[in-house]
């Protein structure tokens, strides 16, 4: 813990430290601008010393006292929080139990007694043994819980060494803290201290620290490679918890710009509200549909509030998991109908189930699908593959959709299609269901639109032959990027290589658009890129017909669109396709965006 406020460095910073963008994982949304304090949280290496026989029991006593104090500290922390932070509280509760856990307490006491060594050293050894056990665990989620054990042990060590861990002793202004990792308790204390947000090297979106940060509304970017060595105490950064980006040494204008975004994010400004009721088209009248990604019926309100022209992606999984049993056809039908009727005549795109088969093991005990240990879940039995393997489940969902199809404009979206034959199999299932419905005298729209997600590279390559069989394409960039760049962005070691602006990705998007348009097929895009104001102009330039995003992003993208003219967008589109790598695309955008969108990106 050494905030090294070095004057020389500060001067360097003011005379222009090199600007740099760091990429991490969005841990908790929000934008803040501030100076960083880099904390070195490596606890002092515990010294080893041998005890005399008559010192052993008093050492055990010293250890027990440290445990009690650490426990009291946690209990005290718990008391500060209201019951509505259930996630946070339950994390502290598990830490309270861990402090007294046999694996820590008994083992350490035994080691002190047997080896006659000091408590710090014995505790470190006990932790080492626990780590060995956890290293063997294959399940990533459970394995990551070792981080919690380490936090708890660090707290005990701090008690032993006597100095209470003050996160930010002697720092006067509000700062952004940077560290290898924080414990959930650190995060909680940050809220009451002068912390604007935090950056870490470790951690992913599911780490407890990120969960706590989100529940406290504290912006954070996690999993940033080498951030503790790149950032120096005193540097100014912009922390963008929405995109997981950090801008080191930003210009004054950029800072103001981001503070402005933050203001916009917080208080939905009148200026943007103005755009909600305007049509989404360029200055010269090129229309692009801006629609919403949602997963629950309850979000219908925000779809309307933000002026979405329909739903570009309804993730249908929620109905299957929140009640603990598989919903029947009537339940699904009622939900889909409400959605369609609520938005008619705008289109509602419902994606069929898009999850790993393992998630269904409990709901479908007879299916024999138990894939918790799939070696490559992203390449495994999931999504449309699972639906085709469980026809009864799939047919129920499709029947519900078809029955709802006469209440509005339904578009059925099939995820993860990687070959024509999969699509044809679904087509033939749909055909059979339609015949059944006819026979039963149940109304449906026989001309319902059927489309596929383009998210596997093979689908991009074959887009021309797939186009002949569908009514629309929807490009899922999150998966397409992962599959084409071979990057798992929740993996902290490679997350920084996850590059939405990689020309390979942009070319695939373009190829899909061209293949679709050649045969009159509408092409939509529904990944995070669609709602990001940096990448959205590029996508508009590549000729997409629809961008689908989280509802609150729509007014921002609409404002960009309304300040564009189609020639200028097409130019940008053809330029980015000629770039050699993502960096080149970013350079291009650095000059392009402020020139055409001075309100959003400021003049330089």
């Amino acid at each position: 813990m050494t905030p090294d406020m070095d004057e020389k460095k500060e001067n360097l910073q003011q005379t222009g430290r090199e600007q740099l963008t760091l990429y991490g994982i969005s841990g908790s949304p929000g934008i803040v601008v501030g100076r960083v304090v880099v904390l070195n949280r490596q606890p002092d290496q515990s010294a080893w010393y041998q005890l005399d026989a008559d010192q052993v029991e008093s050492e055990v006593e010293r250890f027990r006292t440290a445990i009690t104090r650490a426990e009291e500290e946690l209990v005290g922390l718990r008391r500060q929080f209201e019951d509505d932070l259930a996630d946070t509280l339950s994390i502290i509760d598990s830490h309270i139990l861990m402090v007294r856990d046999r694996m820590i307490l008994k083992r350490t006491v035994n080691l002190i007694r047997e080896k006659k060594i000091n408590a710090e050293w014995a505790l470190a050894q006990a932790l080492g043994l626990i780590k060995k056990k956890f290293d063997r665990i294959a399940d990533a989620y459970i394995k990551d819980r070792f981080a919690d054990i380490k936090y708890v042990v660090d707290r005990i060590t701090a008690q032993l060494s006597g100095h209470r861990q003050e996160l930010l002793a002697g720092v006067a202004e509000q700062v952004i803290v940077v560290s290898d990792d924080f414990s959930p308790e650190d995060t909680i204390r940050m809220q009451s201290e002068k912390v604007l947000g935090f950056l870490t090297e470790k951690g992913g979106i599911t780490s407890h620290t990120a969960i706590v940060a989100r529940s406290l509304g504290l912006p954070a970017v996690v999993g940033i490679e080498d951030v503790t060595s790149i950032c120096k105490t005193g540097d100014t950064v912009i922390l963008d918890g929405f995109s997981g980006r950090v801008y080191l040494a930003p210009t004054r204008d950029q800072q103001l710009q981001y503070l402005e975004y933050d203001r916009q994010h917080r208080a939905f400004s009148d200026d943007l509200a103005w755009y909600i009721h305007l049509s989404s088209e360029t200055v010269d009248g090129l229309r692009v549909r801006l629609s919403a990604n949602i997963e629950m019926l309850d979000e219908l309100q925000s779809v309307q509030k933000y002026g979405a022209e329909g739903i570009g992606l309804f993730r249908s999984e929620f109905d299957y998991f929140h009640k603990g049993h598989i919903p029947d056809e009537d339940t699904l039908f009622a939900n889909y109908r409400e959605l369609l009727a609520g938005l008619a005549p705008d289109p509602v795109t419902i994606r069929t189930l898009d999850v790993g088969g393992d998630k269904f093991a409990a709901l479908l005990p007879a299916s024999g699908v138990r894939l918790g240990l799939e070696r490559n879940p992203a390449l495994g039995l999931r999504s449309i593959r699972f639906s085709l393997r469980e026809p009864a489940l799939f047919i129920t969902q499709l029947r519900a959709m078809l029955r709802a199809s006469c209440y509005g404009r339904l578009r059925i979206l099939l995820p993860l299609i990687s070959s024509l034959s999969e699509l044809q199999r679904v087509r033939s299932i749909l055909h059979t269901i339609m015949e059944d419905l006819d026979r039963e005298g149940i109304p449906f729209n026989p001309g319902v639109e059927v489309g596929i997600m383009i998210e596997v590279p093979s689908a991009v390559v074959m887009a021309d032959s797939l186009a002949a069989e569908v009514d629309f394409f929807s490009i899922g960039t999150n998966d397409l990027i992962q599959y084409s760049l071979a990057i798992d962005r929740s993996n902290e070691h490679v997350a920084h290589m996850y590059e939405p602006l990689h020309p390979a990705v942009l070319r695939m998007i373009s190829q899909t658009v061209v293949a679709g348009h050649d045969q009159g097929v509408e092409v939509s895009l529904c990944g995070e890129m669609a709602g990001d104001i940096v990448t959205a102009p590029v996508l508009l330039g590549l000729g997409l017909d629809e961008l689908s995003m989280r509802p609150s992003a729509i007014p921002y993208v609409k404002r960009l669109l309304r300040h564009s003219c189609s020639r200028q967008l097409t130019d940008l589109g053809s330029k980015v396709l000629k770039c050699g790598d993502g960096g080149e695309v970013r350079n291009l955008l650095t000059s392009y965006l402020p020139r055409y969108y001075p309100e959003e990106f400021g003049d330089r």
Partner: protein
């Protein structure tokens, strides 16, 4: 002394992680019985949440319980309810 045994599958979609293990240990502490849990490893005592976590019980894993004591039946009924939930306690 009553000894009760029970088998079930972990239904929580994330497996037995901190929150579930914590609840499990709390349930056992509230009853007059000792409870041992066995997965592909074990058995371990349910009072240690670290022991429970280290069994790495993912969604769908089969687990066996052995309870001993006056509350043996009651405690296992509560444990079974906990493990049959797909979401977090």
């Amino acid at each position: 002394m009553t000894v009760v045994r029970r088998q079930c599958r972990v239904q929580n979609l994330k497996g037995i992680h901190c929150r579930v293990a914590t609840r499990l240990a709390e349930i056992v502490a509230d009853h007059e019985a000792t409870v041992q849990i066995t997965g592909s490893d074990g058995p371990v005592d349910c009072t240690s949440i670290l022991d429970i976590l280290s069994l790495a019980l993912v969604h769908g894993s089969r687990v066996r319980f052995k309870a001993q004591g006056p509350d043996a039946d009651k405690v296992l009924a509560a444990v079974e309810t906990l493990l049959s939930r797909t979401n977090d306690p």
